[in-house]
Structure formats: structure tokens, C-alpha cells
């Protein structure tokens, strides 16, 4: 069988950086990848200041006050803290990028996303072009609660919206066609934390980690750790919490609207895994089988999230990083990582990426597979 089914990852994932120009209304931000890509998930971060970590998607709809904030527990479109309608937002997907729009604030309408001379990055994934399917659980017998699915099964990514039912072991269909290995869930209606599930611990005794926080993996025996079931996700459904803390209704399954972003590894394109630090600047090498375009890592015992990409850091060492769980501008030193043709290598002793004998979670996406199905090897980085 061929090494990979995805010879051109830019059909499914792209990063883009831009400098704000203070446009009077809208501005189209275009990708520069090999293929045109209409994104369905846009995650924006201002690089030189504190704004951003705003997430928009085509299932919930782009537009004013449709953002979710990764660095807090805020509801969708929180206007008291982050009024994107006033300060700027992603208003639509474009055929090869997306449109940013000035908010209604007459003096700061571009503040979040297109203020003159501010620098920005967005990480974007393609699902299904905004076209969703609805799983009627009672009809299909897949899951126990209905879900609206927008899936890119080829690239292992789906956006799922559902309304919780505050019931133990509730299940929603995810549409990936294979078992998800990384799941992000956010309650859209209530100020509760993001939940992240990883294949390393979902279904075991430690069951979730906060995307908007820096705490350690929470045990399923605690209230904070009960948001996924002890039953690991399957190729069809995700099972929500029934942890010993009995706190199932808090984060993932209240009777509220939720969104879940589900990922699985696809050979030559994406990899979800773990590594163990060695505490040495000549750090751990992690094999992915592709040249890295984007990388997120998180220390299991607690630290900030680290995000790197090949647009912000086109060369090695990759030393510019963002965090999903804080408001800070991007960091520029102290966290060197080499993104390589077949994986990545830690080049720092920072605890955020390389404490000795400590486990880290990561998810990575490809710039190119290590070799295409046509036998073309990628270049060294």
C-alpha cells in the first residue's frame, strides 16, 4: 500500500501570517500553500499582543461574536470580555483563505484581527466545506444524543455540534470513521473550561486536560477529570463522563450546546502521540513520518501549551511559539525545537517541553509527507 493518501497536506491544513492594515471594512487573508483551501476551522492568534486565540468554524458559522476563546472558559460570543462584534472577527471562509471584518467600534474596530502593523497568525483546517450531516441517534442507533457532523475522513478531522443531556455515558457520533485520538470540547452556552482528551488517557484513570489551563492531567476520580467516560472513544462515538467525581454535567454534557473538534492520526499527514523528555538540550527525537508544519505540545504534569508552525518559524531552530491557554504575545526564545523532515527534536531544557522522564502530549500536522505516494522525498529542513 502507498505510504500516504495525502501527498499535498495543504489541501487540508494551512497556516497563514499577516500584518494588519487597518482596513475600513473587510480584508481577505489568503493562504500561500500549494493548493487552494477553503477552511472550516480558523484559529487566530495575534502575535505581537494579547488578543486572539479566537476559534471560528463553519459548523457554528463565522461572524461577529461566533468566536470561542481557547484561553478561557468563556461562552461563545462572550461580549462582556471579548466583543468581536465590536473589535473584529473572521466573517467568512474564502476559496483560499478567509475574510476578516472590522468591528463596530469606531476607534478600535480592527483591534483583534487587523489593526495596522499588528502581526497575526491563523491555523486553519478543512472539514467538509461547511456541509454537515445530522446523526439522529435514535434512528441510527449510533450514539445516544444527536450530533451534527462535518467530517473530513481523509484527513482525520471532524467538527461536531451537539446538545448535552446531562446523562451518564452519553454518546455522540463523531463521523471520523476511525477512533479519534485527540478531542477538544467546549460548552458554548456556559462559562466552563475546555476539555481535551488524548488517546493516551481517554478511557483510563486519567481522563482530561484543560485546553485553557496549565494544570496536570486530571484523574477521573476527581470532579475535574470526569468529562470523558472511562470507556474510550470508538470508531463511531465519543462517550462522555461518568467519573467518580460525578461531575459529568460540568463541562462536556450539560444540557447546553457544545462543539467538539475530533482528530485522528493519518500516516504522512498528522500524528497524535506522546514523548518523554530527557531534560537535555540535546533532547528527545520524535518520529512522525512527515515534515512538520504545525505542532502543539503539552506537559502532562502541568505547564502551558506550546504551539509552533512553519510560517512563524520557517527555519530551525523553531524558537517562536504561541500559547493557547494564556493571553501573552508569542514567545521568541527559550523553547527551541527543530521541526524536521521526519519528525521533531527538542532542543531546550525548558520544563514546558523537556523535563526529564516526564510525559508530553503532542499533535502535529505535515508540510509534506516524508515521501509522497509517487516516491518524491521531502527536503531536509
Amino acid at each position: 500500500m502507498a505510504y500516504t493518501d495525502i501527498d499535498d497536506p495543504s489541501k487540508h491544513f494551512q497556516s497563514v501570517i499577516w500584518t494588519g492594515n487597518g482596513a475600513s471594512d473587510t480584508r481577505t487573508i489568503s493562504f500561500d500553500g500549494n493548493s487552494d483551501m477553503q477552511p472550516d476551522w480558523v484559529w487566530h492568534k495575534q502575535r505581537n499582543d494579547t488578543y486572539g486565540n479566537h476559534v471560528f468554524d463553519s459548523s457554528r458559522g463565522f461572524g461577529a461574536n461566533k468566536e470561542l476563546i481557547t484561553r478561557g472558559n468563556f461562552v461563545e460570543g462572550d461580549t462582556s470580555n471579548f466583543n468581536t462584534g465590536a473589535n473584529g472577527y473572521v466573517s467568512a471562509a474564502a476559496s483560499d483563505g478567509f475574510v476578516v471584518k472590522k468591528g463596530t467600534n469606531s476607534s478600535n474596530g480592527n483591534r483583534y484581527i487587523n489593526e495596522s502593523n499588528d502581526t497575526h497568525v491563523a491555523w486553519c483546517w478543512k472539514a467538509n466545506g461547511g456541509t454537515t450531516t445530522t446523526n439522529d441517534a435514535s434512528s441510527t442507533s449510533v450514539g445516544t444524543i444527536d450530533s451534527v457532523i462535518q467530517a473530513n475522513t481523509e484527513a482525520g478531522f471532524s467538527i461536531v455540534t451537539y446538545t448535552g443531556n446531562a446523562t451518564d455515558n452519553a454518546q455522540f457520533a463523531h463521523g471520523l470513521g476511525a477512533t479519534p485520538e485527540w478531542i477538544l470540547i467546549k460548552n458554548r452556552d456556559t462559562n466552563v473550561d475546555w476539555t481535551m482528551g488524548h488517546t493516551d488517557f481517554m478511557g483510563s484513570s486519567a481522563e482530561n486536560i484543560r485546553w485553557n489551563g496549565s494544570s496536570a492531567v486530571a484523574s477521573a476520580d476527581s470532579a475535574a477529570g470526569s468529562h470523558f467516560s472511562r470507556n474510550a472513544p470508538s470508531s463511531t462515538v465519543v462517550t462522555l463522563g461518568n467519573g467518580a467525581g460525578g461531575d459529568f454535567s460540568t463541562d462536556t454534557n450539560q444540557a447546553d450546546a457544545h462543539v467538539a473538534y475530533c482528530f485522528r492520526s493519518v500516516q504522512g499527514y498528522s500524528k497524535i502521540g506522546t514523548y518523554v523528555g530527557n531534560g537535555n538540550a540535546d533532547g528527545t527525537f520524535i518520529y512522525t513520518g512527515f515534515k512538520i508544519a504545525w505542532l502543539i505540545t503539552r506537559k502532562s504534569t502541568g505547564n502551558n501549551w506550546i504551539i509552533m508552525d512553519n510560517k512563524v518559524s520557517p527555519n530551525n531552530p523553531s524558537s517562536i511559539y504561541a500559547r493557547s491557554d494564556t493571553a501573552e504575545a508569542e514567545g521568541t526564545s527559550g523553547l527551541d525545537i527543530d521541526m524536521l523532515s521526519n519528525g521533531f527534536k527538542i532542543r531546550t531544557t525548558s520544563a514546558a517541553a523537556n523535563s526529564n522522564n516526564v510525559k508530553y502530549y503532542f499533535m502535529a500536522f505535515a508540510e509534506h509527507p516524508f515521501v509522497s505516494s509517487k516516491g518524491v522525498p521531502t527536503t531536509a529542513r
Binding site: M1, A2, Y3, D7, D8, S10, G33, N34, S35, Q267, G273, T274, Y275, V276, G277, N278, N280, D282, G283, T284, F285, Y287, G289, K291, N315, N316, P317, D338, L340, S341, N342, K345, N357, H368, F370, V371, S372, S373, K374, G375, V376, P377, T378, T379, A380, R381
Partner: protein, 676 residues
């Protein structure tokens, strides 16, 4: 006997067949000194490289007359201790230019392409040196000090040029597709292109090379020309000028053919010989070079007319004949020569200038036609054969004569400017003709047609590999397997490792791992203490960092200590035998059926052993040792050691000591794409 397998197969697109492996521990390098200066201001260097040892100063290419003499005169492209790339020049110990990247080059699993393009005459300082990496112009430099305008570098000067070396600082790794273009500042698009998926890939350079330019494809091809006899051409003792014989042409279908020749496609040169005419037949051809259509259907010849005058005949859409002022006669030895350069061409008889034309033979320069060159007669019916004896024929890529001279009367010796040299000093009627010019063959052979051959030092046949930018082979991976007691010592393009710290575990993986398919590789052990040797696979998701990986889960090793299989840290009870120094351990990994087999010198010792169920993702070839100073030499198909038999896989890839098991393949990118 060393067997070198054939080049990589073509699967569409431009294929690079070979690379050259440099081992810094061997002080391996290539060197060449031009006879004269080319363009020292404007030129382009393009090469692909894959790194071996990291973290040391290594020169990719340098030129200059002195270094380390407190009077450095050197221009170089080198990798720094911190793995950044620097383009650096000194003149009389003073720094002339420095361009050092912020980027580090320490991805040793794949190939980099760099283009360094100079134009010191450019009015904009930042345009005097341009560096491109994988097709993209580098813009981030830790130091960017450009030379003053019009400064001459030492590249293309008449001083030594080294690939991999100047006063130490040997390169360690692989180099492929080395183009040096004298006189042009080119773009990466001349040497590479982006494929449909956005990957930067090599393409064939088709332009000219200039005086001191060269092209090293590391094919190890000989540059001596093959000489084919047609008709009754032969050595004859009837007449002889130098040596016992001369070459006899009877004027009736006799000739010597030199196929795939670029002899007359240089921008300057000399063709000369001694000739003894038996008859003056109008238009009889001493040599004939057929048309180069890409250059406008140009062709040329040297003919003798019925009146004894000699004509240098050139056709470039119209005829241009340079006819000698004097005539030659039958029955005597006469030395004839034609020289050419940009200024035109000249004809010489017995060392005396006999005619000048401002129309040069450079119309054929770099024609790339690889046409067959004929001596004694053209090929078509309209051509007229030479009825004469010819002796000591030489073609050179330089103008040998600029004023009247005394022709040679003894056998010539080849030099770096000689592109063809035919002696005749043998048995009567012999039909064996050899070219005594050039090098016998070696990895430094220039394939540009310029004959700017590089002399290899500490580089042998096993250093010519098929690990290339178009078919990347697995090697040991020096980036993994770190522990507090240090690392292995890596060498030979990361195909050799040595345990250098007794009583400490070492582990390393390879640069490729596989989830599917069937794969074969070999490991030779020939030094150190033969104990505590573990060879097998581990799940690439399991870290090799730390110590004692031999007790870890998600692993399966052949354990030389007792000849056991050690799976997930536990030995089986079977004893499959131990290795002895010099043995070659074969590993056949079947990821389709999750099995592994081991061979000792081609004999199966473990067959179809089930892999650990905990190996769920990529299985990575893995190597452990505790033994003192043990040396592993891995052969994923590009061995750094001699192969006596030479076995490739069913796709024609790899070069193994023992037969590759049916259905198994070498671990290289072409196979990985198909099966992995």
C-alpha cells in the same frame, strides 16, 4: 571484489543516480586547480547535500591559495560548529565577505539543496551573494557583510578548489548533483523545481558551464573515450613518426569513431596531429564532427584539398573555410594544428601560422549533442576518406599555441587539459586503439564537457552511493537515543556507529520507520567486544532516550548475548546461536504479517517470529549495545563497506551482501512510497 549496482531507476521526472559519501574521519575530499582564471566575480554553485556528523566545522566548497599561514586567501561555503551555513571570504587575512545564516542545518534524515550565486559587480550589495535553500532565497542572517563591489573571489581563480576540505574541516555526509557555473549568477529554478505537491525537486541543468565550471554527478563514469575501428583503420609499421607505428587510413571507408563525444564543444581548444599523405584527394577529412542541431545545425571538419592546402571547414548556416596559405605534400610527415577561442581560429602547419579567421569553432560550445566524432572520414556517402598515416593525435580544451612553435617529436603525456590523446606505438596491423587522456574514472569526473576533473582523496568505490535526493535511503539517526552518558560515535554518512563508552547502554534508531510492507537490512559487526548486542525494532512512539532500553516494552531484538530473542524486555528460552566478529546479521521485517526473521551470513537463524503486540505504530530499526567499542555497520542498501556479491531487491534498489528474501525491499524512499 567490490560490486557497485546500477543507478536508481527512473520513475518519472529527473532522477539523480548517485551521490558521494564523505567521511571526515578519513579526510576524504576532492580537489582541482584550474589552469587559468575564469570569472571570479560572477558564478553559481548548486549542490544537494545530506548531513552525517553534526556540530563540527565542515567545508562544502572552498577555493584559495593559502589558509592557516597567517595570510589567509580563501573563499568558502561551509557549515559551522553550530550547524549554521556561512559563505565566507578572506583576502590577505582580512575578511572580505561573511554571510551566515540564522537557520541551522541539522536535519540528517533528508537532503538539502543550496544554490550560492555570486555577482560581486552588482551595484546593490545584497545582490552580490544570494543563497537559496530548497529553492527559497534565504533572508535571515546572523551576519551579512557583503564584499566591496567588483572584489575578486578565489572561486574560479587558478588556485586549488576543494570539495569538503581546506586545512581540515572535512565534510561529513553525502553530496550529489554538484554544478559550478562560471560566469553566470543563476537562480535555483535553473537547478530545481516544485512538483505538483509543492515539494522542491531537482531538475537537470541544461545551460553552459563557462571556462572553469564543472558538473559532478559522482557516477564514477570513466572519461576516457572509447574508440571504435571502422573499415581497415589500423596501426602500421609502414610509416611511423613517434613510436613504432602510425595509424593507417586507406581512404576507402576507414575511420576511428569516438561516440558520445563533446570533444569540439569547448569554448577554446586545439586539435593537432602528425600526418603523412599518401595521396591528395580533394576534401579528404582528417576529422569530422557531425551537426549539433541544438546549436543551429553547426558542424565542422579538417580537410585536405587536391592542391595540398588544408581547410578548417565550419558550417553555421553558411560555410566558413579557413584555408592554409601553404600546401602540404605527399610522402612526408607534416604537423597540422587548429586552435580556437573567442577571438577566432588559426591553422598551423609544422608550427608555422598558416591562416587566421575571426570566425571561431565556439559555435559548437556546450552543444550537448554527444555526437560521434570521426577521424579519417565522415560517415555519409558524400564524405571523402583520408588516404594517409596519422600519428600522435591530441585534442585539448585550451589553445596550445599562440605563436610559431616547434612541433613535438616524442610521445605526449596527458595533462588536465588533454581531452583526447591517441598514440600509435604498437604491433603492426593492431586494431586496438586507446585514449590516453583524462582520468581512468573516479567520483570526481567532470561531466560538463569541460574536463575539469576533481581528484579524489580517500574516496573509493564504496563511497559512490545510490542514496540521493530522488531516492533517500535510511541511515542510523544521530538525533535520537540520547542518554546522560553520551552518544554513539557516528561515521560513514551515519551508516556506522561505535560504542565509545564502556559499561553504558547506547541505543539508536534509523531515519525511517515502517507501518506496512516487508523490509530487509544487514548489519556487520567487526570490532570491539562481541557481547550485549541487540538488533531489532521498536515502536517509534516509544522513546529511545534514557538507559536500558533493552528492558523496555514495544521492542523486539535479536540478543547476541545467548542468541535469544528479547521481546518487550524478556528473553525467550530458545538459543538461536551467537555471532562472531565479521558476521553479517540480516533482518527481514514483515509488517504486513507482524513478523521478523534474522539471518547470520545469509543463513536463517530465526524465521517469522511474531512481533510484540505492543508494536502498534511505526516499527523502527533499532540498535543497542553495552559492549565496549563495538562497531555496527548498517546496510539499508547503501553500504559503506565492500560487497562481494551484490544483491538488490526486486525493484532494483539497494546493494546487499546476501540475497534479499523474496518480497522484501530495501528501506529507501522509493520503496517506502510504494509499500510503507
Amino acid at each position: 571484489m567490490v560490486a557497485i549496482l546500477g543507478a536508481n531507476s527512473v520513475s518519472g521526472g529527473y532522477e539523480i543516480d548517485n551521490s558521494l559519501r564523505f567521511n571526515d574521519g578519513d579526510a576524504s575530499r576532492l580537489a582541482f586547480t584550474p589552469d587559468g582564471a575564469g570569472d571570479r566575480d560572477t558564478f553559481t554553485i548548486s549542490l544537494w547535500f545530506k548531513r552525517g556528523v553534526l556540530g563540527s566545522e565542515q567545508r562544502l566548497f572552498s577555493a584559495g591559495p593559502s589558509l592557516g599561514t597567517s595570510n589567509n586567501n580563501i573563499s568558502s561555503v561551509r557549515l559551522q560548529n553550530n550547524d549554521q551555513l556561512i559563505i565566507f571570504g578572506e583576502i590577505s587575512q582580512s575578511v572580505s565577505f561573511t554571510l551566515q545564516t540564522n537557520r541551522v542545518f541539522r536535519d540528517s534524515s533528508a537532503w538539502y539543496h543550496i544554490v550560492v550565486a555570486f555577482d560581486t559587480e552588482n551595484g546593490t550589495a545584497a545582490n552580490r551573494i544570494k543563497l537559496y535553500v530548497n529553492g527559497v532565497q534565504e533572508s535571515s542572517f546572523s551576519t551579512a557583510n557583503y564584499m566591496s563591489q567588483n572584489v575578486d573571489t578565489f572561486f574560479n581563480a587558478a588556485n586549488v578548489h576543494n570539495i569538503s576540505y581546506t586545512g581540515g574541516n572535512y565534510f561529513d555526509g553525502y553530496i550529489a548533483e554538484f554544478n559550478s557555473i562560471d560566469g553566470q549568477q543563476l537562480a535555483p529554478s535553473d537547478f530545481g523545481e516544485t512538483d505538483d505537491n509543492g515539494v522542491w525537486i531537482p531538475k537537470e541543468y541544461t545551460g553552459s558551464y563557462g571556462t572553469n565550471g564543472f558538473y559532478l554527478d559522482f557516477s564514477n563514469d570513466a572519461t576516457k573515450h572509447a574508440i571504435a575501428v571502422v573499415g581497415n583503420a589500423k596501426h602500421s609499421t609502414t610509416q611511423n613518426k613517434i613510436g613504432a607505428t602510425s595509424i593507417s587510413f586507406d581512404g576507402n571507408g576507414d575511420r576511428l569513431d569516438i561516440p558520445a563525444s563533446k570533444l569540439m564543444e569547448t569554448d577554446s581548444g586545439t586539435i593537432e596531429c602528425w600526418v603523412y599523405m599518401n595521396a591528395l584527394v580533394d576534401g579528404s577529412e582528417l576529422y569530422y564532427h557531425p551537426p549539433i542541431y541544438a546549436k543551429g545545425n553547426v558542424y565542422q571538419s579538417l580537410t585536405v584539398r587536391a592542391n595540398g592546402k588544408v581547410a578548417s571547414h565550419l558550417y553555421t548556416g553558411s560555410v566558413n573555410d579557413l584555408v592554409s596559405a601553404n600546401a602540404i605534400s605527399t610522402g612526408e610527415w607534416v604537423h597540422l594544428a587548429v586552435t580556437w577561442n573567442d577571438a577566432g581560429r588559426k591553422i598551423w602547419i609544422n608550427g608555422v601560422l598558416n591562416g587566421t579567421s575571426d570566425v571561431s569553432l565556439t559555435a559548437m560550445d556546450a552543444g550537448g549533442n554527444n555526437a560521434t566524432f570521426h577521424i579519417g572520414e565522415g560517415t555519409a556517402d558524400s564524405h571523402t576518406g583520408l588516404n594517409a598515416y596519422v600519428d600522435e593525435l591530441r585534442v585539448s580544451k585550451i589553445v596550445r599555441y599562440t605563436s610559431n612553435f616547434t612541433p613535438y617529436t616524442s610521445a605526449l603525456t596527458e595533462d588536465s587539459n588533454t581531452t583526447l590523446l591517441i598514440h600509435s606505438d604498437t604491433d603492426n596491423n593492431s586494431t586496438t586503439f586507446t585514449d590516453s587522456s583524462g582520468v581512468i574514472g573516479g567520483p570526481g569526473n567532470d561531466q560538463s564537457g569541460n574536463e575539469n576533473h576533481y581528484t579524489p582523496f580517500a574516496l573509493g568505490a564504496t563511497d559512490v552511493t545510490t542514496d540521493t535526493p530522488t531516492n533517500n535511503f535510511a541511515t542510523f539517526n544521530p538525533l535520537g537515543g540520547i542518554n546522560s552518558s553520551g552518544k554513539w560515535t557516528f561515521s560513514e554518512g551515519n551508516t556506522q556507529i561505535q560504542q565509545n563508552n564502556n559499561n553504558n547502554w547506547r541505543a539508536t534508531g534509523s531515519t525511517m520507520a515502517v507501518a506496512n510492507g516487508k523490509w530487509y537490512w544487514e548489519i556487520e559487526f567487526d570490532a570491539g567486544t562481541m557481547s550485549h548486542i541487540f538488533v531489532g525494532v521498536h515502536d517509534s512512539d516509544v522513546s529511545l532516550e534514557g538507559t536500558n532500553r533493552w528492558v523496555a516494552g514495544s521492542t523486539l531484538f535479536y540478543n547476541h548475548e545467548g542468541g535469544e530473542i528479547r521481546q518487550d524486555g524478556t528473553n525467550t528460552t530458545a538459543d538461536y546461536g551467537v555471532l562472531t566478529a565479521g558476521d553479517i546479521l540480516g533482518v527481514a521485517l514483515n509488517m504486513d504479517d507482524k513478523q521478523i526473521s534474522f539471518y547470520d551470513n545469509g543463513n536463517a537463524i530465526v524465521s517469522n517470529f511474531a512481533l510484540s503486540s505492543s508494536i502498534t505504530g511505526f516499527a523502527m530499526p533499532t540498535f543497542l549495545a553495552y559492549s565496549s567499542n563495538v562497531v555496527y555497520k548498517v546496510n539499508f542498501g547503501n553500504p559503506a563497506f565492500g560487497i562481494s556479491s551484490g544483491n538488490s531487491d526486486a525493484n532494483g534498489h539497494g546493494n546487499f551482501e546476501y540475497a534479499v528474501p523474496s518480497g522484501y525491499f530495501a528501506l529507501c524512499s522509493k520503496n517506502l512510497a510504494e509499500f510503507g
